[in-house]
C-alpha cells in the first residue's frame, strides 16, 4: 500500500438549486482507517456519500480515490470503490448468485476469479446458504447483507457504507461490526450511521457534519482522552459525605444524585478517582463516564445554535 490517502476530498460543495447541501468539506481517508461519519438527518451525509461514489456530481471541489480523480477518470476511480447506499441496490427478481455474478461483471472481475470472489463475499456476509434464493424473498436483514456483499465483492480499497446495520438483528449487527473491523485492517472504510455506540466500537476516526459543514473531526484516541478527563457517575455502597469527595485536589464539581450516586468532575484520569474510592473503603460498585462524550459532542455541535436534530 502506498502512503497516499485512499480518499482525499478537497473543498467539496454541492447545491440543490439554491440550497447548499454540502458546504466546503475537505477530509482524507488512509488505508486502515474506519471513519465514522455522523450527522443529524438532512445534514448532508448521504449527499456526500453519493458524491464520493460517483452517483452525484459535486458542484465544486475535487475527489481523489486511490489517487485517481473521480471526475476525470470515473472508470478507474470507481474500480477501487465499493458502495452500499441507504437502500441496497438490488434486483428483486434475481437470485443472490445471479445478482453477485452480474455485479462481478460490472466490476470487471475476471471470469476465472468470479467464483472465488463470490464465495468469499458470501462467506463474509453469512450468505453461503442463500445463494439460490430470490432476493425479493429474503428478509430485510438478508437483503442488507447482499448489499454489503455487493460492496465488498471486488475487494475494493475503499468501502463506503451508508447505515449498514439498519434492519439487522443484534447478532447480525455484531457480525457486521466484526466484518467491518476485519475489513478495516486492509481497506479504508467510511461508515455513516446514527448509532453512536457503533461508531465508538468500530471506528478509529470520527467526523460530524451539520448543515453541510464539517463541525468535528477527531480520531478515537483524542475522543478517549477527552473521556478520561471528564465527568463520571460513581456509585458507592458506603458513601462518604459529599465534602469528603470534594476534599481531593483533583476533584472539581461534585453533584449528589441520591445517597449512593454522585456525579464527579475530575481533572485527571478515572483511575485516581477509583483508587481514592477503594483506598477510603467507600465500597465502589460502579464508575462510568457520566455522559457518553461522543453523544455529548454530537448534541452540543448539532443542537448548539438551534439546529434541528
Amino acid at each position: 500500500m502506498s502512503s497516499q490517502p485512499l480518499i482525499s476530498v478537497n473543498n467539496l460543495v454541492r447545491y440543490y438549486g439554491d440550497y447548499c447541501a454540502v458546504d466546503n468539506i475537505s477530509f482524507e481517508l488512509a488505508a486502515g482507517d474506519i471513519l465514522g461519519f455522523l450527522g443529524p438527518n438532512g445534514a448532508g451525509k448521504s449527499t456526500t456519500m453519493q458524491m464520493l461514489s460517483g452517483n452525484l456530481a459535486p458542484s465544486e471541489g475535487e475527489i481523489h480515490i486511490n489517487g485517481v480523480d473521480l471526475l476525470d477518470k470515473p472508470g478507474a476511480a470507481k474500480a477501487a470503490l465499493g458502495y452500499l447506499p441507504e437502500v441496497p441496490p438490488l434486483y428483486k427478481e434475481m437470485s443472490v448468485d445471479e445478482y453477485l455474478r452480474y455485479c462481478a461483471r460490472l466490476r470487471r472481475i475476471k471470469k476465472a476469479d468470479t467464483k472465488d470472489a463470490m464465495a468469499l463475499a458470501k462467506q463474509r456476509c453469512g450468505l453461503t446458504d442463500a445463494g439460490k434464493r430470490l432476493i425479493g424473498n429474503l428478509s430485510k436483514g438478508f437483503q442488507q447483507r447482499v448489499g454489503i456483499a455487493q460492496a465488498i465483492l471486488h475487494s475494493p480499497q475503499v468501502i463506503i457504507l451508508d447505515e449498514p446495520t439498519v434492519g439487522l438483528d443484534p447478532i447480525q449487527i455484531r457480525e457486521i461490526r466484526e466484518l467491518i473491523t476485519e475489513l478495516g485492517k486492509s481497506h479504508g472504510i467510511i461508515l455513516s450511521t446514527h448509532i453512536l455506540p457503533e461508531v465508538e466500537s468500530v471506528c478509529n476516526r470520527v467526523q460530524i457534519i451539520n448543515e453541510g459543514s464539517l463541525v468535528y473531526a477527531s480520531d478515537m484516541k483524542g475522543l478517549l482522552e477527552q473521556q478520561n478527563t471528564g465527568s463520571y457517575e460513581i456509585s458507592l455502597h458506603r458513601p462518604p459525605s459529599i465534602d469528603d469527595i470534594r476534599a481531593a485536589n483533583f476533584v472539581g464539581q461534585v453533584e449528589q444524585l441520591d445517597t449512593n450516586h454522585f456525579i464527579v468532575n475530575i481533572s485527571t484520569t478515572a483511575d485516581e478517582l477509583a483508587s481514592m474510592a477503594v483506598n477510603n473503603n467507600w465500597g465502589l460498585t460502579r464508575l462510568v463516564p457520566h455522559e457518553h462524550s461522543l453523544e455529548q459532542i454530537f448534541i452540543n455541535l448539532t443542537l448548539g445554535d438551534g439546529g434541528n436534530a
Partner: protein, 247 residues
Amino acid sequence: MIISIALRELRSMFLSPLAWTVLAVTQLILAWSFFTQIDFFFGIQSQLATMPNAPGVTDLVVMPTYEIASIILLMITPLLTMRLISEEKRNGSITLLLSSPVSMTEIVLGKFLGIVLFMLIFVIMISMMPLSLLMGTELDLGKLAAGMLALMLLLSAFSSAGLFLSSLTENPVVAAISTFGLLLLLWMISNNAGDNTAALTQLSLLSHFAPMLRGLIDTADIAYFILFISTFLLLTIRQMDSQRLQG
C-alpha cells in the same frame, strides 16, 4: 460490459410475466390476422392467376402481417420500455450501475441492446408464420428479409424513444403514456398531408417504414432510422449525465 447489462435486462424481462404475456398476446393476434389473410388470398387466387404481374403471397399475406405487427408494437413498446430506467431510479438499483466502473454510455447502450434483443426474438417469432408457408409455396425471400429489416429498425426506433422517456421520470406509467403519445404522433404525422407538409412527412416513422415493407430499401430510410435511434440514445445519455449533476 454492454452485453452483460443487455443480457441482465433481457433476463429480467423474461423473469417477470411481462415478456411472456407480450409475446403470447401479439402472437395470438397476429396468428389470427395471418389466418384471415391466407383465407382472403385463397378467395382471390383464381382472379390473380389471370392477371399479369399479379401480387404474390408475400405481398398479400406476409406484408400485411408485418404491418399489423408494427401497429400492435406501437402500443406495446411503451409498456416494455417504461421500466427500463425509471424503475431502477425508483427502487434505487440504478446506484449499482452508477457506482460501478461503467460509463453512462455503456449503461444506456446496454439497456437499449437488451430491449432490441427482445424485439429480435419477437420478430423471429412472428416471422416463423410466413416461413411456414415455405412448406407449401414459394416466397419472395428478398421481400421477406426487407420486411424483417424494416420491422426491426422500426421497433429499435420505438425502443430508443421509449428509453429516453423512461430516463426522464421516476414513474413508469408516465414514461409509458408519454412514449405512446410521442410514437403515435410520429406515426400519424404524415397522414394529414397537405401541400406544405413535406418536412413533416420526412419526420414520420410511417413514411419511412412503409416503402421498406414494400421491398424498397432506400439508404435515406435506413439513415432516418439510424439517426432517429442515435438521437434518442444521445439524449438519454445527456439526460442521465445531467441528472447526476442536478440530483
